[in-house]
């Protein structure tokens, strides 16, 4: 909603146009339902993560392994992984792809679990969502931290056969999947176009998360 306000403030003439667009959009019954579902999916996901992390009864190892199963469950890891690999995905063999996806998940878990491990009295507020197409939406939220500045996080979710899945996360407007894609392709290119170089790199970083 903050984004909407920003747009309206910047371009006052956009408001009536948006009004027309919105009234058309709201008549599509599936669209409205999807947005609410997507938002509640993100709320549940955040609730689960925060509940798990702030539980003093769990050890760090337990937390990491639960974080891992949460990501496996709520993220569409193959889609994110495939996007992050960029054009090299097409060149990869079937066995390389599956090996890559395994170490990719390890890497995500080990790098991100670490930064969320210190979370305790943080809360996540969902601020609304916008649709990308009939399957996908971006849910805007903010992580409110009592001791530090708020973090704006947007969740790009897709409605799949197995329910909603996250396919990208935007921290302060920076797309995680895109950042990974830029990084990965640079590492592979520097390694002479060898996917194995990236896999080794990811394995090094991801060690200890499995």
């Amino acid at each position: 909603m903050a984004i909407l306000r920003e747009i309206v403030a910047a371009r006052p003439w956009a408001a009536p146009l948006a009004g027309i667009w919105l009234s058309v959009a709201l008549y599509a019954p599936t669209a409205a339902a999807d947005a609410a579902e997507a938002e509640s999916f993100v709320r549940t996901l955040a609730g689960d993560v925060i509940a798990m992390l702030s539980d003093p009864g769990r050890t760090d190892e337990q937390k990491t392994s639960e974080f891992r199963s949460l990501i496996e469950d709520r993220f569409d890891v193959p889609v994110v992984g495939r996007f992050a690999l960029g054009p090299y995905w097409r060149a990869a063999s079937e066995s390389q792809r599956s090996e890559y996806l395994t170490v990719f998940l390890d890497y995500i878990v080990s790098t991100y679990a670490l930064s969320f491990r210190q979370f305790s009295d943080e809360t996540l507020q969902v601020n609304g969502s916008r649709e990308i197409n009939e399957m996908e939406a971006i849910v805007s939220s903010v992580i409110v931290r009592p001791a530090a500045e708020d973090i704006f996080v947007d969740w790009h979710v897709r409605n799949t056969n197995a329910g909603y899945k996250v396919i990208d996360v935007l921290f302060e407007g920076l797309r995680l999947a895109l950042t990974l894609r830029d990084e990965f392709s640079t590492v592979i290119r520097a390694g002479g176009g060898d996917l194995g170089v990236l896999i080794e790199n990811l394995r090094d970083r991801g060690a200890g998360s499995a």
Partner: protein, 330 residues
């Protein structure tokens, strides 16, 4: 630099006789010709000084005068000043040549490699990486310790005040760029902020008008009007940029009113102080982000490149959603 007009150089030799050295440059002379002639003039001047010293004359002589064709004196040169002014250009030319010959990564043959190469949009990667490494070295040696010290010494309210003061100084440039982007609502906002914060808010230390803070520069304005990023560049000491943003950076210095308000000495001191404070203050705010990136990243160069481009994209769209967030495969 004395390159805009037809310029003659004359030298006084030890007998106080004027020697005309010749036309240094016309506004049509190619750069290499100007360079060659300046070099020639410099040699002449040095020889003249040496002869003067040899014959026992004291002091630093005036060795040359730059004058236009009509004889109007432009400038008096003292020993060594000719090449002093042109040495920068010499280095710039050499560096540019070096870049073109050595640093341009060539387009790969393999179709997939080519796709990746085009997506990265970084043909100067080898050179950029070298500059990046240099910048990292400076950061490790100077900037990071300075930022940490700043954080330890200045308490949080003080740092907030300094941040506000610095961002208030950027508002005139933001204002002009708001206008150039035809964002009149934002321009009014910026103008009011600057006016009120500079007066009632003691130069911005107290953020009286606390409405939407935003920052605009010429790079963003160009982007807003459809100028693409151009390839990626890492500028020495400054950091990530692109062709477009570098052009904007140069243009912004002309939009800055402080230069015309202050006299040259003051303005130099002011810019130096603001530059140092800005850099340290900025780095202090990024200590955590920086450590995060260092911990996560497989290749910091690529991460910074990606983050820079995405941030700039967001800034140019003024917070509007990106036009294409659809998850394209591969």
């Amino acid at each position: 630099m004395y390159f805009c007009k037809t310029i003659y150089v004359t030298f006084l030799d030890d007998a106080q006789i004027h020697h005309r050295c010749g036309i240094i440059a016309t506004n049509r002379s190619p750069l290499w010709q100007r360079m060659g002639r300046l070099w020639y003039a410099d040699r002449w001047a040095r020889a003249s000084i040496a002869r003067r010293r040899h014959s026992g004359l004291e002091g630093d002589p005036i060795v040359g005068r730059l004058s236009t064709r009509s004889g109007k004196e432009r400038c008096v040169l003292r020993s060594g000043e000719i090449m002093g002014n042109s040495r920068f250009l010499l280095w710039a030319t050499t560096a540019a040549l070096f870049v073109c010959l050595a640093a341009c990564a060539s387009m790969p043959q393999d179709p997939i490699e080519r796709e990746v190469f085009l997506e990265a949009n970084d043909p100067l990667e080898p050179l950029n990486r070298a500059v990046f490494a240099f910048n990292r070295g400076v950061d490790r040696a100077v900037l990071e310790p300075a930022a940490t010290a700043y954080r330890n010494v200045v308490p949080k309210p003080g740092r907030v005040a300094i941040t506000r003061l610095l961002s208030n100084l950027k508002l005139p440039v933001t204002f002009v760029n708001d206008l150039l982007q035809l964002e009149f609502g934002r321009a009014t906002n910026t103008f009011a902020r600057f006016l009120v914060n500079s007066t009632v808010g003691f130069g911005g230390i107290f953020n009286v008008v606390g409405t939407s803070e935003h920052q605009e520069d010429l790079g963003q304005t160009l982007g807003r009007w459809g100028v693409g990023n151009g390839f990626y560049l890492v500028l020495p000491l400054y950091g990530p940029s692109t062709v477009r943003d570098t052009m904007g950076l140069v243009g912004d210095t002309f939009l800055n009113p402080w230069r015309s308000v202050l006299d040259p000495t003051q303005s130099r001191a002011f810019y130096a102080a603001r530059g140092v404070a800005g850099v340290v203050n900025d780095r202090e705010q990024r200590i955590e982000d920086f450590n995060d990136i260092r911990r996560r990243s497989l290749d910091m160069y690529a991460t910074f490149r990606s983050i820079y481009r995405q941030t700039r994209g967001n800034e140019i769209r003024n917070g509007a959603p990106p036009p294409n967030t659809v998850f394209g495969f591969d």
